[in-house]
């Protein structure tokens, strides 16, 4: 449409936002937003775009009919929860007026503004939002390729891998050795490997008490470290051993046939080996030209627009979001912020600087929760930075009642966020 200057002035300041004329779009239709990826980032964003402005035509591209959530999947691995409690469908997303297209996006033409799917379908967009999550960097750890994951599961994308690791733990004899390999930063869910270690230790303590768990780490420090280590000393003494980088923890190669993890200091032959491998942004990010040499996607901290390609926004784990961790809460928070910005940009407005929150709970035992929280805003150097004085972890000296309360809050968080995204 062509809004003349006079039309614009006639509408004037008394008009509500809904009457602001739209910039030029194809006749007879609203601005088109395509969202790729139906996880915490993408599904949230698609719905939030519809809520922000129902004139926006929103298409969500997702390969799977069912989403399987990673948060709480460590409880599935250790038999505390069933995988079905992690699974969600897209009916309610579609009911918000989002066109849900089942398919895999394989190419993006940033100049022509189209997304191509594996079946050849081409979707035109005015703004594209990518929430592709992570992909495994196969063979970045020598020996760890796709067939290796059938022997040494990563279980870092929830689903069949989660169940495989669970079955392996269940099949292991009492007295066995479990080894977890944790990667260097950055990776999805920074406290995740340590929550997993905690819950596996809980499983071993209660079901197979002669067993041992070793965490081989490519880092010397990790999220909520003091809280985890204090809880491990209290709950799992002699059962769980953490080997940091400086003590030879970095795994340099794996041998799947014998479930062996190799470090510069030795070889660990495991009965169950969980390799959490190096990661990168989901592959469509590379195809769209929005991933940099790190494998992740630099973004503008106000709009989440790619710093490499115009009109393409990246949210969730795939984005380089400064101080914000790669968490489901952060993805959801970024998605709503990005949707508000994209709605503004599509309707001729100007996005305002946002403030974002992250809250991440980890279970150290079923009734023992700890958390980290942060508040973030764009900084002068164009990153999302911590708001000084805010955020931090649960108190080190809190009573068990507080830990129990945080375990309850963790489950409530999962119900709340999944209801918002999929319910």
């Amino acid at each position: 449409m062509n809004a003349t200057r006079r039309d614009f002035l006639k509408i004037g300041l008394g008009a509500s936002i809904a009457l602001v004329p739209l910039p030029a779009f194809a006749q007879g239709s609203g601005p088109r937003a395509v969202v790729v990826g139906g996880g915490f980032a993408g599904a949230t964003c698609a719905r939030a775009l519809r809520h922000a402005d129902p004139r926006i035509v929103v298409t969500l591209v997702e390969a799977n009919p069912t989403f399987t959530a990673c948060p709480f999947s460590n409880a599935v691995i250790t038999g505390l929860r069933e995988l079905s409690a992690q699974q969600f469908t897209y009916e309610r997303v579609a009911a918000d007026g989002v066109t849900v297209v089942r398919g895999t996006a394989t190419a993006v033409d940033p100049q022509g503004r189209t997304v191509t799917l594996a079946d050849g379908t081409r979707l035109a967009y005015d703004r594209l939002v990518l929430g592709p999550g992570i992909d495994i960097r196969w063979a970045a750890l020598p020996g760890y390729d796709e067939p290796a994951a059938a022997q040494m599961p990563h279980a870092w994308q929830a689903g069949e891998q989660t169940l495989l690791l669970r079955r392996q733990l269940e099949a292991m004899d009492d007295g066995g050795l479990v080894v977890i390999s944790s990667p260097a930063n950055p990776f999805r869910c920074p406290p995740g490997p340590y929550e997993r270690a905690s819950l596996i230790a809980h499983y071993l303590k209660t079901k197979k008490p002669k067993s041992k768990l070793i965490v081989l780490d490519a880092k010397d420090a990790f999220s909520k470290q003091r809280l985890f280590q204090a809880a491990w000393a209290e709950l799992y003494p002699g059962l769980l051993e953490w080997v940091p980088l400086s003590k030879g923890g970095a795994v340099t190669s794996v041998e799947p046939a014998t479930r062996t993890l190799v470090t510069d200091f030795g070889r660990h032959k495991a009965n169950v080996a969980n390799v959490i491998p190096p990661q990168k942004a989901g592959r469509i990010a590379d195809a769209a030209g929005v991933a940099d040499r790190t494998g992740w996607c630099p973004i503008d901290p106000v709009t989440f627009e790619s710093k490499l390609q115009p009109r393409i926004h990246v949210i969730g784990d795939a984005a380089i979001a400064g101080a914000m961790p790669k968490s489901a809460f952060a993805a959801n928070s970024q998605a709503k912020t990005c949707a508000a910005a994209v709605a503004q940009l599509l309707t001729g407005g100007t996005p305002s600087p946002p403030k974002l929150i992250n809250t991440c709970y980890s279970l150290v035992a079923p009734d023992y929760g700890i958390s980290v929280a942060g508040v973030y805003q764009p900084s002068a150097n164009g990153q999302l930075a911590d708001v000084p004085g805010a955020g931090g972890v649960s108190p080190q000296d809190a009573p068990r009642a507080t830990r129990a309360a945080e375990a309850v809050l963790a489950e409530a968080w999962f119900r709340t966020i999944t209801a918002e995204v999929f319910g």
């Binding site: 928070s333 508000a340 929150i357 805003q377 805010a390 309850v408 709340t416």
Partner: protein
């Protein structure tokens, strides 16, 4: 001239504030990660939708000052200014 400019800026900021009240104030989008939007969700965390504006402001001030103990809200409240809290509270109070 300077006076006129100042007056114009003043007017614009009022207009901007009026326009902004219709959209989500900074930070508000994140709250529903823990505070349920839907009344059907069972949670010990209160819904903010339709909550009294003054009650939200008081809670945030008390979490920030340490007068009220929180599990995470004490850490989160410290990241927001009085103006931001006022805007967030006003926005939730009008939501249904």
């Amino acid at each position: 001239m300077r006076k006129a400019t100042a007056a114009a800026i003043g007017f614009l900021s009022i207009a901007a504030a009026a326009a902004a009240s219709a959209e989500l104030p900074a930070g508000a989008a994140s709250c529903s990660g823990c505070h349920p939007s839907s009344a059907r969700v069972s949670s010990p965390v209160p819904r903010l939708t339709g909550m009294d504006r003054a009650a939200i402001v008081k809670a945030m001030q008390d979490f920030r000052s340490g007068q009220r103990a929180g599990t995470v809200m004490d850490r989160i409240a410290k990241g927001f200014t009085d103006e931001e809290v006022q805007a967030i509270a006003a926005w939730f109070a009008t939501q249904k």
